[in-house]
Amino acid sequence: MNDRGRRVLRLDSLGRVEGEAALHLRVRDRSVTETHLRIYEPPRFFEAFLIGRGHTEPPDITSRICGICPVAYQMSACQAIEKACGVTVDGPVSELRRLLYCGEWIESHALHIHLLHAPDFLGRADVVGLARDQRAAVERGLRIKQAGNAILEQLGGRPVHPVNVRVGGFYRVPAPAELRPLAERLRQAREDALETVRWVAAFDFPDAVCDHDLLALCDPGRYAVDSGTPAVMAARKQGRALREFPVSDFEEHVQEGQVPHSTARTATVDGRRFLTGPLARYAISGRWLHPVAAEAARNAGLGDPARGAVCDNPFRSIVVRAVEVVQAVEDALRIIDGYEPPPRPAVQVLPREAAGAGATEAPRGLLYHRYALAADGTLTEARIIPPTAQNQTAIEEDVRRAVQARLDRAGPDADEEELTLLCERAVRNHDPCISCAAHFLDLTMDRT
């Protein structure tokens, strides 16, 4: 494998990520010349078979793109269709949507933090190994996860592919008494989530800096989840200037390319590499965190979010995710406390010949949908840009930097197994959802 300073590193199947992918690195004369995140998830053609369907169908159909974040798909789909039909959903129905979304954030983040990501920091292969000496932490993680799923079950009918969401709102809305047992569970989840922030904040983090532009929704006054305007914070070297663009212009700014090594597509924002997800949200929306979540962030060494702190070490994304769990729990409790049932579970959404775009914050980043409708509601166009496809270029750059830093320190004979683990960690930092992106990894490191 080592031949005059040329190496290939292959990682054929990345574990502890959602979906299946591989990584291929090429190293020449101590420098990483190529990094390819290869997605071998077979294509499933959602955007093609949505054409000809009815305007009420995208929430159910697109939720099947991803079993990890189905609510994100349902919410972005509803928003895009409602936009096309000129309908605004607000009041308690909108609050219930946000509550459902909080359930998915809590569930998905708790899964990633405790079951998929924490083993990296504690030298364990997986959660079974982790549970052997940190059983209490794993049980706590499962408890938080279960609290998120309890919201999804109560409000959505089930955790994976909830059935109660429709364009315009819900099929049935809960009575306040039905939400009360959730509040009980969420109060326990708040203590658990704060403990998890302390737990992950004490991990050892490799030194790393990512210098991507950051893209997240911005919804002044609150931490953007289910609504907001796309906002870009320029990379540190570019002075972190902030700019916004309307969601209807999303495809003019975020452009996708396609690469031969992957069934996913890659993306740039205004021609530059960018990152979406927790680090971007924390930078752009941090000042609107709930005071309890903001204090947890400060105590965890993430700086002061009220003063625009930015976390640019991707390995610390696990801490940001833990803070976001606290945020989602607080938000869910707030919604339940103030809940008064709406007069009707859904707003009527009559079709018309128009197009509409929608974007919401999936746990792993911004998820964009756009549909064009015929007068009778038949879909004539569908466009979906999932967060992992947006993040692919940034992930590859993070891997390149991590391996390069290691090679600079250890020389060209850096241990293969160690490099492999480093690559996997650099990828997992971004909680990639490859099922989403194949519409979206094998590490091969080619040192020829």
Partner: protein, 299 residues
């Protein structure tokens, strides 16, 4: 490598979880067993499950997607849509004592089987600017079209309690107790008033396999068939009922063309509709057929 290598005296049965074309939701259901997950890992050694644990072997030696096995029980999620996957499922069968499919993709081809009714080149061109980079088969097919399957667990997604029942059954060496009746039975058991009878809501409950616990009707929504066909569904009768409840021909066609579109029972529904359109007598025949067949149906 799994962190749970066991010991020489480890007699726990081994479990593998495999993914083909799918959304990950059914394998996530295993991780959604929050109360049982740690207890389960005491009883079963999870040897291959990429969503939870890195692949077996190390570095370059990692077995690509193919764990070496053998495994006592393999859970297979997803459908076969590429030539590579058609080969890989053969490997999975060889290294598995029991093979159980989990979910609508593995059992009926999933929503991606909508390509079976269209031209896959058109689909490629619609989604990818450079279709030549993508390799895919023209069809999405169930696992049982490729290898013998010991049990098929239905659902889009599968139900957590049913998954635990299936794992427990195979681990203890008995048959899974998964009833094959319709969603209607589950509404009765749950005490949900029939939404078709009470409100005229179109509902696929009578032709849909039980297992979800009849969630949709409890939320005031008609069943949309995500668990696929029940045993011997009366589809002619179902289509008549859907018409009476106000669905148009295209609505009926769409409602059967979703997550179990390619199941042998649901796939012919559009042909059935077309046949009736060409020969209006067929529709009357179908309502007679319904009355005649009714007494045969178990109550």
């Amino acid at each position: 490598m799994t962190s749970d290598p066991g010991t020489a005296t480890d007699t726990r049965p081994t479990l593998a979880v495999w993914k083909f074309a799918s959304c990950d939701g059914c394998q996530l259901t295993l991780l959604d067993c929050e109360d049982e997950l740690l207890a389960l890992t005491d009883r079963v050694r999870i040897d291959h499950f990429l969503e939870m644990t890195p692949a077996e072997g190390a570095g370059r030696e990692r077995a690509r997607l193919a764990g070496r096995g053998p495994y006592d029980l393999s859970l297979v999620e997803g459908s076969i849509t590429t030539a590579d996957d058609a080969e890989r499922i053969q490997h999975v069968r060889r290294v598995s004592r029991y093979l159980v499919t989990i979910g609508a993709c593995a059992t009926a081809g999933g929503i991606q089987a909508l390509r079976n009714f269209a031209d896959v080149d058109d689909f490629l061109a619609a989604v990818y600017a450079r279709p030549e980079y993508i390799s895919t088969l023209e069809t999405s097919t169930a696992i049982s079209d490729h290898v013998p399957v010991d049990f098929e667990l239905r659902g889009c997604p599968i139900d957590r309690r049913q998954l635990l029942e299936v794992i427990t059954a195979y681990v203890t060496g008995r048959k899974p107790r998964i009833p094959g009746h319709s969603v209607c039975f589950e509404c009765k058991r749950r005490g949900t008033t029939c939404i078709t009878v009470a409100h005229g809501t179109p509902c696929l409950g009578p032709v849909t396999h039980a297992g979800c616990g009849a969630i949709c009707p409890a939320y005031g929504r008609g069943c949309y068939g995500c668990f696929g066909p029940t045993d011997r569904p009366n589809l002619r009768s179902m289509v008549e009922q859907l018409r009476r409840d106000g669905l148009s021909e295209s609505d009926i066609q769409r409602v059967f063309r979703t997550f179990n579109a390619a199941s042998p029972e649901y796939a012919p529904v559009p042909d059935l509709l077309a046949e009736e359109q060409n020969d209006p007598r067929a529709r009357q025949d179908s309502s007679r057929a319904r009355t005649e067949t009714r007494p045969e149906r178990p109550v």
